[in-house]
């Protein structure tokens, strides 16, 4: 009988064994970079990658000397909120509702079209945008503006760079919410619609009292998830406007990149990145606090067959 204890010891070892691949990935690609970044932030590492002193100067700069930061924060705020509100959530909800309201084939076709920007390589997508908003009269947008409306050619990339990057990111971002919310709407049991109609509900009432309530949870998830992702990604901005002109379309994450890799001020970039990490952690904790860990795993309030 005493032999029966041996497997118990094995069992204890197993969780660690099973967790090892995931844990080592986390350690290597998440924790280690954070530790290294924090370390670098307290040094004077520059172009030559040499560290000659430990210093708090980088934080001094962020908190006082760097006069670009207020502008960068404002740009980031406008960019994240506008993209999120109008596209990643707003347009996503509209697309999900409309493409599920029409026939399945037509709906699938439109969803397919809207998902194209996400499928295409970032560089090609960005190039297309550059061509669309090209400032010459031959640019696609300008052909419409001058040819059809008879207006002066626009130079959006110079005059309204923030608008361009919001549109470009928004058209990519909308598809995420569209896909998630489409499946949410699909999972609403058919008989609820029938019941509502039997009760004499109008299309609007069906939307208001049957469809929208079911979207609440996923929309919260999408909002938070996409807000974080908008905060830290910048590849389309880098490709389309390079953060310019000057710093006009430079969001915080791109600012970190530009400081570190355009100028070779690695330590300063590392210090700036800490703020971004802290913000991300706080945002995630806040989300847990507000909605609980099980936000996306609560029992559905509607019947799932």
């Amino acid at each position: 009988m005493s032999q029966a204890f041996v497997p118990v010891r094995c069992r204890r070892a197993r969780p660690a064994l099973f967790l090892a691949p995931a844990a080592s990935l986390l350690l290597l690609f998440f924790l280690a970079p954070i530790v290294i970044d924090v370390g670098i932030a307290f040094t004077n590492m520059g172009e030559s990658l040499k560290v000659t002193a430990w210093t708090l100067k980088n934080f001094d700069r962020i908190l006082g000397a760097d006069r670009m930061i207020p502008l960068i924060l404002l740009t980031t705020f406008l960019y994240v909120t506008a993209t999120l509100f109008f596209f990643n959530v707003g347009l996503g909800v509209v697309l999900a509702i409309t493409t599920t309201a029409v026939s399945d084939r037509l709906g699938a076709l439109f969803r397919g079209i809207w998902i194209l920007p996400r499928m295409s390589p970032a560089v090609i997508y960005a190039l297309l945008w550059i061509w669309v908003v090209d400032s010459s009269p031959q640019g696609l947008l300008n052909q419409v503006v001058t040819g059809i409306f008879g207006l002066a050619p626009l130079n959006l990339r110079n005059d309204h760079p923030l608008l361009v990057i919001i549109l470009a990111n928004g058209f990519v971002g909308a598809s995420f919410a569209m896909v998630v919310l489409t499946s949410t709407i699909r999972s609403i049991p058919e008989h609820l619609f029938h019941a509502a109609r039997v009760d004499g509900a109008s299309e609007w009432s069906v939307l208001r009292f049957v469809v929208l309530p079911s979207l609440k949870g996923p929309v919260w998830f999408i909002t938070i998830y996409q807000a974080l992702s908008l905060l830290v990604t910048f590849e389309y901005i880098l490709l389309i406007t390079n953060g310019g002109p000057v710093y006009d379309s430079t969001t915080y994450a791109l600012y970190v990149y530009r400081r570190a890799f355009e100028g070779g001020h690695y330590a300063y970039g590392a210090a700036l990145a800490i703020a971004l990490m802290l913000f991300g952690v706080c945002f995630t904790l806040l989300q847990w606090r507000l909605f609980g860990d099980g936000m996306n795993r609560t029992r559905p309030r509607i019947e799932v067959l």
Binding site: S48, N158, G244, V246, E262
Partner: protein, 454 residues
């Protein structure tokens, strides 16, 4: 049987020549189809040395491992190389834009070349004396060897001037008027505006879209000094800087330069000039290579008479009447890693590549001016009208500072230039921005003055 095999094997082994010692040297440069001899001259110099070793019965072979970086430009290349050196993966011999030598020398990545140069007078004595200034680091010592020389200029399209009714005397007299200080930068703006307004060109004036050095000529014309001659530190003279930026601001406002010049691609800019949509383009003499080449949609005359009938060259005109025009040269240099196992071999290779026979191949194929006196006498050099024509402009040519932090300064300056051109800031605001940024990035390393005369 075994004994037989053993004897045979021993005989074979002794019959084979002992394998020669291979000396592997890493040579790095930035990829550029127009300048293959920057690396090839080192490779060919190794062949010369190998032949000498063989003749002298020395059992060594030099093998050059060439790496051509595909970075966006010289600055990106230099930054990457700094990273490579930092992890001890740097090359033995490398090319570098001269203004980076300060930073490389300071970090111990570029060998002090003074002894090597003194030991090889046969190669280095004939190098143009003012070129040595371009390789002097902040310790006052020479840490590199000039690989080439060139001259920056405004290219202007004479056909467009003819189109708007200017006579030949005016057209051909422009360079002389600029030399005398009669024709100023503002006159250049006015002329470009006239050409554009009369419909002879779509763009009046185009310049590079990214950080570089040619626009620094304009700043020099306006009296901007980047280094305080008294202290040797970087400096920002606000008044002169504002005047220079105001010139770019006016150009953009007047429609002479497109406001998004800095967002255009190199291809778009070169094509606009080549296809005669732009009146003026600001670059270096080596640009004649693509101008007379067959790319970019159209072909221009390749001979001296045909080309000079179409295109003229100007230094940066003076900012005020009677002032001096500004010339700028930007040599690429060879530098040697102090950590190389074979410093003498590397220095020999650089020396051989510096000799006229080798360097002239680079000069004539890429339209760079000679680095030695003897080179100018070679038939190949004489036969190249481009470099012969450009050589006189080398007189009075200046270099950008070799201060290790000048590249940071230049990036900030370029951002300011972009800000005024795009209309995001006025010249005065841009100077404020530049001062703030320099203070932030460089701190005490830069002096901020109200004017250069201070």
């Amino acid at each position: 049987m075994f004994r037989k095999i053993a004897i045979l094997a021993t005989a074979l082994l002794t019959a084979l020549p002992a394998s020669a010692e291979e000396i592997h040297l890493k040579m790095w440069t930035l990829v550029d189809r127009d300048t293959p001899y920057r690396e090839q001259n080192i490779v060919d110099a190794a062949k010369v040395l190998n032949a000498e070793y063989k003749a002298a019965g020395i059992d060594k072979t030099i093998v050059i491992d060439v790496n051509r970086g595909n970075q966006k430009g010289w600055d990106a290349y230099a930054l990457d190389m700094l990273k490579a050196f930092a992890v001890k993966q740097g090359p033995d011999i490398y090319t570098l834009p001269h203004e980076w030598i300060g930073k490389f020398a300071e970090n111990g990545y570029a060998m002090n070349m003074e002894a090597a140069i003194a030991a090889r007078p046969w190669a280095f004595n004939d190098v143009l004396p003012n070129l040595w200034e371009s390789v002097r680091a902040s310790d006052g010592k020479i840490h590199g060897v000039p690989q080439d020389a060139e001259i920056r200029m405004f290219f202007y399209n004479k056909d467009m001037l003819r189109k708007i009714g200017k006579d030949e005397a005016f057209i051909d007299g422009l360079p002389a008027a600029v030399e005398r200080g009669d024709f100023t930068l503002d006159d250049l703006t006015a002329l470009a505006k006239e050409v554009k307004d009369k419909g002879a060109a779509e763009y009046g004036m185009l310049h590079r879209p990214n950080v570089g050095i040619d626009y620094l000529m304009v700043f020099k014309s306006f009296g901007v000094k980047f280094v305080d001659p008294k202290t040797g530190k970087l400096m920002l003279p606000k008044k002169e800087m504002q005047n220079a930026l105001a010139w770019y601001e006016t150009n953009a406002k007047e429609g002479v330069t497109p406001i998004d010049n800095t967002a255009m691609s190199w291809d778009a800019i070169k094509t606009a000039f080549k296809q005669e949509k732009a009146f003026i383009f600001h670059q270096g003499v080596w640009a004649v290579a693509w101008q007379t080449g067959d790319a970019l949609g159209v072909s221009w005359p390749k001979d001296e008479a045909g080309y000079t009938h179409k295109i003229g060259w100007l230094p940066a005109p003076a900012a005020v009447k009677g002032g001096k025009p500004a010339n700028l040269s930007h040599p690429i240099i060879y530098a040697i890693n102090p950590g190389t196992k074979y410093p003498d071999v590397a220095a020999d290779l650089v020396a051989i590549a510096t000799t006229p026979y080798f360097n002239v191949r680079h000069a004539v194929i890429s339209n760079h001016t000679a680095i030695t006196h003897a080179e100018t006498a070679l038939p190949a050099y004489k036969a190249n009208w481009v470099v012969s024509l450009a050589s006189p402009m080398m007189e009075g040519a200046d270099f950008v500072p070799n201060n290790p932090q000048f590249s940071d300064y230049n990036k900030v300056l370029f951002t300011g230039l972009q800000a005024v051109e795009t209309g995001k800031m006025t010249a005065a605001q841009a100077v404020g921005f530049i001062a703030d940024e320099l203070d932030l990035q460089l701190g005490d390393a830069v002096e901020i003055h109200d004017s250069a005369a201070e």
